[in-house]
């Protein structure tokens, strides 16, 4: 097994720091579940100056959601989480896409999933925010594939810059260079099963519920209410962070995603849906206060979410001690939405006492 200190230094420099500060993410030799658990004690091997920059970047990221001035350095769980991310990224290495190597990529992805299993769920809102500061830009990751063609041939460079010699004398050799950024889950060729890769990313998001919600409008993996995300929005502080993070996304898309996920949640009847309903209700109230509700084009899922939110908001207005004038104004704003067919459909799905 590699030296944990060297491994920690490499992981921090090549993956963790770029995930916060930006720049090239360079996954290297796979880490594995066993080594991942030994990284946290070796964290003192990382470059102190780089660590300071990363901490500053994490605080900056966190301050978009909460007015905090400091974050703890990476915890043991976060080291393991980032090691798992490293291995997931390494499993997408196009060099594995050959007959004798695909098995290695699948093995690495399996080990990454094993590693993720060693990461406990976020115990409190602060931990969720801390993990989010590492993974907030997960879906910004993309690999640049460059197609270079010249008068006698062409070649594709995946994730590496084409050599200058191939781009020399561009006019004489009629060189054409086309760089195409490919998001993480759209990489091709892929040596591992794409669904399995998506599942690994979903498992990772499960370990960072705030990231899961803050990126709910992503294409894949599709957002669905999980135990961890429900636990986050069940708390007042967690719900506030989630509402602030959702404000940074397109309102219509968020409504669509949350409507679909909440409809599935309500249809499942297996778990308490109260935190999700509270989130929708508070979103509806916020929209009513801002008088911007339902201003964007909608679809059935979004109308469902808005209607459900309006119903829940109406319920909230009845329970809490709102000033009478304010309550009347909000009820008037929510009235059209709560009376819509989507709201009636949502009401039918609600438990007896939401």
């Amino acid at each position: 097994m590699a030296d944990p200190r060297a491994l920690a230094s490499r992981l921090f420099q090549d993956v963790m720091a770029p995930m916060v500060l930006g720049g090239p993410v360079r996954p290297g030799h796979a880490i594995g579940a066993r080594a991942a658990q030994e990284l946290a004690p070796a964290a003192d091997a990382i470059d102190a100056e780089l660590a300071d920059s990363v901490q500053t970047g994490r605080v900056r990221r966190a301050r978009r959601l909460a007015p905090i001035d400091s974050l703890e350095p990476a915890s043991a769980a976060e080291w393991v989480l980032m090691a798992a991310l490293h291995d997931v990224l390494q499993s997408t290495n196009p060099s594995f896409d050959s007959p004798l190597r695909r098995g290695a990529a699948a093995r690495i992805l399996d080990l990454a999933l094993q590693t993720l299993e060693r990461v406990p769920p976020a115990a409190h809102v602060g931990e969720a925010l801390s993990r989010h500061s590492w993974l907030a830009r997960l879906f910004e990751l993309s690999r640049t594939d460059t197609d270079v063609s010249w008068w006698t041939g062409s070649r594709t460079f995946r994730g590496v810059a084409p050599p200058a010699r191939l781009q020399a004398w561009p006019e004489l050799r009629r060189v054409t260079v086309v760089a195409t950024p490919r998001p993480l889950l759209e990489l091709t060729p892929l040596a591992v099963d794409r669904d399995k890769l998506v599942g690994a990313v979903a498992r990772m998001l499960e370990r960072s519920p705030l990231t899961d919600l803050a990126t709910c409008t992503r294409a894949a993996p599709a957002f669905a209410w999980q135990r961890t995300t429900m636990a986050l929005v069940a708390t007042r502080a967690g719900r506030t962070l989630v509402l602030r993070s959702l404000q940074r996304l397109s309102g219509a898309e968020v409504d669509t995603v949350l409507g679909k996920a909440t409809r599935a949640l309500l249809a499942g009847k297996g778990a308490s849906s109260e935190p999700a309903l509270a989130l929708l209700g508070e979103r509806a109230l916020a929209a009513a206060q801002g008088a911007s509700a339902s201003s964007s084009p909608s679809n059935p899922e979004a109308e469902f979410a808005r209607g459900l939110g309006a119903v829940c908001a109406t319920h909230l207005l009845g329970e809490r001690g709102w000033p009478e004038a304010e309550r009347a104004r909000l009820l008037a704003a929510l009235g059209p939405v709560s009376a819509s067919p989507a709201a009636r459909e949502a009401s039918a799905l609600l438990p007896a006492d939401p």
Binding site: L21, V25, G32, Q37, Q90, G159
Partner: protein, 495 residues
């Protein structure tokens, strides 16, 4: 043996002898018989004084001939072509003590003279195998050719005569300097702004014991300044040559007995340098590549390169022969219109600015340099009691008050010697070093006092753009030969 040819005579006895259009007896060749080499040289010297040998060269042959009695004489043969040419040759031969003949192959009869205007004809030819048979009214003689004489070799063997007047001749000079002197001579000529070209010529070693060829500097100077003539003529190791024709030059102070300009025997692509004192000539078959003198000027680098500054010292030492000195003077102060405030005293100036009267501030101008502030005020600078006061001795030239310049040259001369370009204000320090300040740098003191502190342009950006994160990129690295080496599952799984 000879008889005079009469008018309208058509029949001649001598083979190869004919009559030209004037009726003069003329063979294909003309021949001059000279008693000795020095007569030959005299003949060439006289002939070339007025005419060129160029038209004679194709047919010119010179031989040492020997008579039956064993006496050696010199013959010079040329193509006769016309009686005009032969007349000139015969007159010249007579002048130097020679005799002119004409003929075609072996039999040559005396060329015409005053006694026989149409020439002579030999009535009785000698029957002999001799190479040359000459018929004169006083003798008939046969000769055998002993050896040929080369004109070029003859010219090079002749020692030039001493003639100091050639040193005074104006015009081009070829100067040959020994290797050790060449660089210094070139530097001297460059420094004296003498135009010319310089190259290096090589000669074979003087002896077999020398490993290296002899190299000498060859300079071509179109016009040597009169003051340098003695240097070039009298310095051992430097030899000056006066061009004496295409491809030939004679050492200054000497003159070649023959006018070399009329002897086209030297290749114009090279040069033959004829030296005096009996020294062998220097022959350069092909002129070496020559470059302008300035290209060989000595290159000197400053040992302590200084950064560019607003105020720079004027390099006056090169143009002033005597080092300039600034010495204290008891003369009364006049026209004190500038002061130099060193950086250490600038805080005092700032403090003093609050106390200065408005007229003083209005009149004064200031230039801020890294050496301090230079203040000028046409009405007098005494109102600002700071720094070193300066007297304006010449427009834009200041000397410390209470000092004077030695040698006591006129201010105009001093300004010219310092050589400051227009638009520069010179301040001469007590150490005789000058500081030049661009006149444009002087701004009104009141404006300088109220100048805002230095500011920099701040480019306003949108806050979102300023907070933008650097883009994330996934880069691919090599997976190695064993991508799973050391990659292990978690311990509890293994166990």
């Amino acid at each position: 043996m000879l008889e005079r040819i009469a008018l309208h005579q058509t029949r001649l006895h001598t083979p190869g002898l004919g009559l030209d259009s004037k009726g003069v007896a003329l063979g294909a060749k003309g021949l001059v018989l000279l008693p000795s080499i020095d007569r030959l040289v005299a003949f060439l010297a006289v002939y070339t004084r007025e005419r060129s040998l160029e038209d004679l060269m194709p047919s010119l042959t010179m031989n040492v001939v020997r008579s039956k009695l064993g006496t050696r004489e010199i013959t010079l043969e040329v193509a006769a072509e016309s009686s005009d040419r032969m007349d000139r040759i015969a007159e010249t031969a007579r002048l130097v003590g020679g005799m002119a003949f004409t003929g075609t192959s072996r039999h040559f009869v005396q060329y015409r003279d005053a006694a026989a205007p149409f020439g002579y004809d030999a009535t009785e030819l000698l029957a002999t195998d001799a190479a040359l048979l000459l018929y004169h009214d006083r003798f008939s003689q046969t000769y055998d050719v002993e050896r040929a004489l080369e004109l070029r070799a003859l010219l090079l063997r002749l020692m030039p005569h001493v003639d100091p007047s050639t040193r005074l001749e104006p015009g081009l000079r070829l100067v040959v300097a020994e290797q050790g002197l060449g660089a210094a001579l070139v530097h001297y000529l460059v420094r004296s702004r003498v135009e010319g070209e310089v190259g290096i010529a090589e000669w074979p070693p003087d002896s077999a014991f020398d490993d290296y060829p002899v190299r000498r500097w060859l300079l071509r100077i179109p016009e040597v300044p009169e003051r340098m003539r003695d240097l070039l003529h009298a310095t051992p190791g430097i030899t000056s040559f006066v061009p004496a024709g295409p491809g030939a030059a004679v050492e200054a102070g000497y003159r070649h007995p023959v006018e070399l300009r009329a002897c086209p025997v030297f290749d114009a692509a090279g040069v033959v340098l004829v030296r005096g004192r009996g020294d062998e000539p220097w022959v350069i078959p092909r002129l070496p590549p020559m470059g302008p003198l300035t290209a060989f000027a000595r290159v000197e680098l400053r040992t302590s390169p200084r950064e560019a500054a607003v105020a720079t010292r004027v390099e006056a030492a090169e143009t002033v022969r005597v080092p300039l000195r600034v010495t204290p003077s008891s003369a009364p102060w006049r026209n004190v219109t500038a002061t130099w405030i060193e950086p250490a005293q600038l805080p005092l100036l700032r403090r003093l600015a609050y106390a200065l009267p408005r007229p003083t501030i209005t009149r004064a101008t200031v230039a801020m340099t890294e050496r301090g502030a230079f203040l000028r005020s046409g009405g007098g600078i005494e109102a600002i009691p700071l720094g070193t006061f300066f007297v304006e001795v010449h427009p834009n030239l200041y000397v410390p008050a209470g000092y004077e310049v030695t040698p006591a040259v006129a201010p105009e001369v001093l300004a010219r010697a310092l050589g400051a370009p227009p638009g520069q204000v010179l301040f001469l320090g007590t150490d005789a070093h000058a500081v030049a300040v661009d006149e444009a740098a002087f701004v009104p003191l009141e404006a300088a006092l109220l100048d805002a502190p230095p500011w920099t342009t701040a480019v306003a950006e949108e806050i979102d753009r300023a907070l933008d994160d650097a883009p994330l990129g996934l880069e691919v690295s090599s997976i190695g030969m064993l991508p799973l080496r050391g990659v292990e599952p978690s311990p509890d799984r293994n166990g």
